[in-house]
């Protein structure tokens, strides 16, 4: 496995995600003010701070062990909608990554798909509901396509991050059907979804830490 992604690279990805959340937390909360309850940045930052603290100094034997820790930490520290959703994403991602201490690009893409399926299983969101799904799903599709068509990991991750960002931007005109934004009905139109925004950061972190 020449171009395998190591456990420490995966850890770097999660750390980078935490750093991006920290930098963007006010923006995420701001977006959630408009169509939610003004806490998405606060929630994600509390969760990722807990994750980074949990990673510090601890050694993990495998992908599965690392991401179980990450997922459980998010579930136990975030609450709200994003806690179970991101928690489930990482738990499923880790389980699919397996008990090795590295994963090849195909395996990484499969694990991302498993994570996405976990989000759907938990939250029942569909395309166009104006949720994090609308950023994650195109990203996972783009990753699959790129890797299937033989792209390098670096290019594939950039394509995925770009797709996530386009997906995030596409949430703006959507009328929300899931999450708190759905309570606003027509008034949810014209605002970017906070969860799609944090999901795009997750993909951008992958592109910069793993690419």
């Amino acid at each position: 496995m020449s171009n395998a992604i190591t456990l420490s690279a995966l850890t770097a990805w999660v750390r980078e995600f935490g750093a991006l959340i920290d930098t963007h937390k006010d923006e995420l909360t701001q977006l959630d003010s408009a169509i939610g309850d003004a806490d998405h940045g606060i929630n994600m930052d509390r969760g990722m701070a807990a994750v980074l603290a949990a990673l510090d100094g601890e050694e993990f034997p495998s992908n599965a062990a690392l991401f179980k820790k990450i997922g459980m930490t998010l579930v136990s520290s975030v609450g709200g909608a994003s806690g179970p959703l991101y928690g489930t994403f990482f738990l499923r991602f880790g389980a699919a990554c397996g008990d090795a201490a590295e994963v090849d690009p195909e395996g990484f893409a499969k694990a991302m798909r498993a994570g996405l399926d976990g989000v759907v299983a938990r939250g029942k969101a569909e395309a166009g509901d104006k949720t994090m799904y609308d950023a994650l799903a195109p990203a996972v599709d783009a990753l699959d396509d790129a890797i299937a068509s033989g792209s390098e990991l670096r290019a594939a991750l950039r394509a995925a991050a770009g797709a996530a960002e386009s997906g995030r931007d596409a949430t703006t005109p959507m009328l929300a059907r899931k999450g708190r934004a759905s309570y606003l009905g027509e008034r949810s139109v014209g605002h970017q979804d906070p969860g799609a925004t944090s999901a795009a950061l997750l993909m951008r972190a992958a592109a910069s830490a793993l690419g």
């Binding site: 003010s33 806690g83 179970p84 059907r177 759905s182």
Partner: protein, 333 residues
Amino acid sequence: MKKLINDPGDVIGEALLGIEAAHPDLAVDHTTKVVYRADAPVSGKVALVSGGGSGHEPLHGGFVGPGMLDAACAGEIFTSPVPDQMLAATKAVDGGVGVLHIVKNYTGDVMNFEMAADLAAAETGVDVASVVIDDDVAVQDSLFTAGRRGVGTTVIAEKLAGAAAEQGRPLSDVADVVKAVNANGRSMGMALTSCTVPAAGQPTFELGDDEMEIGIGIHGEPGRKRVPLAAAREVAAMLVEPILEDLPFNRGDAVIAFVNGMGGTPLIELYLMYNEVARIMNGRGIEIARSLVGPYITSLEMAGCSVTVVKVSDDMLDLWDAPVNTPALRWGV
């Protein structure tokens, strides 16, 4: 941000210290942020666990005590608690005949309570049932959306279910009481001002001096629509009419009518609103059998109110009248 707090990150922990100090009948687990009846578990009684984001006080911690909840899980401000909290509470209050989770219908609350119930099934032999409250007529109900929010009916449901549990009814019956209250309860709210999540530091939304929000929830979120400020009697109509039409409530129905303050509206205005609400109900021939007026399910310091109407049977009225001894609702004891 003008609040009587220390660090925004410590608000909930410090408020829980205050609740514990002020109420010797309650016990607080500060690690998991759960408020318990001091005498939990009550053997042979179905136990009631609720919880949700903080910032809605007295809901839910103020409703813990004989005749109402056995435990309340306090999440971060406006954020559902995490499954660990509900799991700890479920284990601690089980009196051997099962635990009922009373969940307000928000994506976060529903998912976290679901995970807790899964964990309880996996880790314990405790019989757990869950009921979701979704009474807010401001939200269009639909199979394809998150559905309606759980708001004011929650207070009535927790009271009636608490009384049913105290009578020794089995888990499924107590769950049925909550379902019946939810099926017969409808609410709608409005805001004159926004509120400020301490960690966010600024109001969730801005509202002009001559505007109000109709169809708000309880999380400081904007409502269904923004309209010009109106007189109390028009506000009452905007809230009560959609409620009455939704169930619908009919001439001759007996109801519990509940005018709730959002946190920043003084009691004098709530009584004035109650007068308007009662006038509309009387005009429709609906009999207000019992009433509740005050800030019971709030949204921090938001100014505004909500109206909840629950159609009640004689059994439900008996459950309402049964003794309750909690910080926020107390009678008969």
